[in-house]
């Protein structure tokens, strides 16, 4: 379980730090560009996977803007616990070969995947 502790801790830490960096970059950019750090825009109802596709498409088209950085930060934040559960499932299945906990984490993964596809 020690290896798993390190893996889970690492995923959570990286997720939060990268998210914070994106949010800060978005706010600073907005601040420098407009003289005010505040942004207000709403997101139409969406799901995480659709959200990712839209943002990555904008990124690929070179439409980098403060709002895109902030959206990416929030999407990365939402991915953090998801990736943690995904990694735990793989770890229980392949490293620990613990069927019971592979099923438990697999259930959590399935429910989260379903809810993140919700719209």
């Amino acid at each position: 379980m020690i290896a798993m502790d390190i893996l889970v801790g690492f995923i959570l830490l990286i997720g939060v730090l990268v998210c914070a960096a994106f949010l800060m970059a978005g706010i600073l950019w907005q601040w420098i560009a407009t003289g005010s750090p505040g942004l207000h825009y709403t997101l139409a109802g969406t799901n995480l996977f659709h959200f990712w596709v839209t943002e990555l498409r904008q990124l690929a088209a070179g439409e980098l803007r403060p709002t895109l950085l902030i959206n990416l930060g929030i999407a990365l934040l939402m991915m953090t616990p998801y990736v943690r559960v995904l990694a735990s499932t793989v770890y229980f299945a392949l490293a620990e070969r613990n069927l019971k906990y592979t099923l438990f984490t697999g259930f959590v993964l399935a429910v989260l995947t379903y809810s993140l596809f919700l719209r």
Binding site: I6, V16, C19, A20, S36, H40, Y41, I74, R84, L118
Partner: protein
């Protein structure tokens, strides 16, 4: 819409008080955001996103220090995430005033629990039931105060799990971590040592908040421009709060927080009774 600097300051304060009291930032953040004019459903949605950040941040440190019991966490998560999905679904559907009333009631209930809390020495539960043994709910953690490794076995997994559904429901409904409730279940029902119960509940809070967030995202309740300074503020505030916790006397923190809880709880109840305006 509240101004940027006011939003940021509020969030830092909420994260700070939340970390010092161990209740999480949401219980302070949501009432204050509604006072600043944000509709309560949006405040709930933004708070639950920020909870993913604070819980992941602190959970990462606890997990690496081997304090968290991952098996207990992953077993109980199955129940909290379903509870959170149901709770967030209810929030989306009900009139605002019910949310004010529910929030006020949960705050007042936390007030009673906090007022009554006695510092007792942890005693291991007398026996582990067969289901908890089958679930492999046991472990050990390094206790720095005692200077040795403490072994423990959790019990009453079935009762704990069904109560966790309720904790998840409240978390999704009100956009809070409901950490105090989870710790209570771990401590009193499952017999986990306090260090293990607080750190394990922290791990569970992150995925539970994600389940709630997915519902609010689907209903367009998340305003990313407002969420960004709030996430950063709550993260910063809770980081400071955790650092300061070691230095401040516990009783002073508890008294201060009792006062804050009472004021916010009564205010939310009052607004609910007046019609949720």
């Amino acid at each position: 819409m509240p101004s940027f600097s006011l939003t940021l300051l509020t969030s830092i304060a909420a994260g700070f008080v939340g970390a010092m009291s161990g209740m999480g930032g949401g219980v302070v953040l949501i009432p204050v955001l509604t006072f600043l004019g944000l509709p309560i459903k949006k405040a709930i949605a933004i708070s639950i996103v920020s909870i993913i950040a604070t819980s992941s941040g602190s959970a990462s440190a606890y997990v690496r220090d081997h304090l968290t019991n991952l098996k207990v966490g992953m077993f109980l998560e199955m129940f909290t995430i379903v509870g959170a999905l149901v709770g967030a679904g209810v929030t989306v559907a009900v009139p605002q005033r019910w949310l004010f009333l529910a929030f006020g009631l949960v705050l007042m209930a936390s007030w009673v629990v906090l007022l009554d809390r006695q510092k007792e020495e942890w005693r291991p539960p007398p026996a582990q039931d067969a289901f908890s043994r089958w679930l492999e709910l046991e472990g050990s953690y390094p206790d720095q105060a005692l200077g040795r490794t403490v072994d423990y076995k959790a019990t009453h997994a079935a009762a704990g799990a069904s109560m966790m559904f309720g904790a998840g429901f409240i978390a999704g409904l009100l956009g809070i971590g409901a950490g105090a409730l989870k710790v209570l279940i771990h401590d009193l029902v499952m017999g986990l040592p306090p260090k293990v119960s607080t750190t394990t509940s922290n791990l569970i809070i992150g995925v539970t908040a994600l389940a709630g967030t997915s519902v609010f995202l689907a209903h367009g309740l998340i305003d990313p421009g407002l969420a960004a300074p709030i996430i950063l503020g709550v993260l910063g505030g809770s980081f400071l709060g955790t650092r300061l916790l070691v230095r401040l006397r516990n009783e002073a923190v508890r008294r201060f927080f009792l006062l804050v809880l009472a004021v916010l709880g009564l205010e939310m109840l009052w607004r609910g009774l007046r019609g949720g305006a």
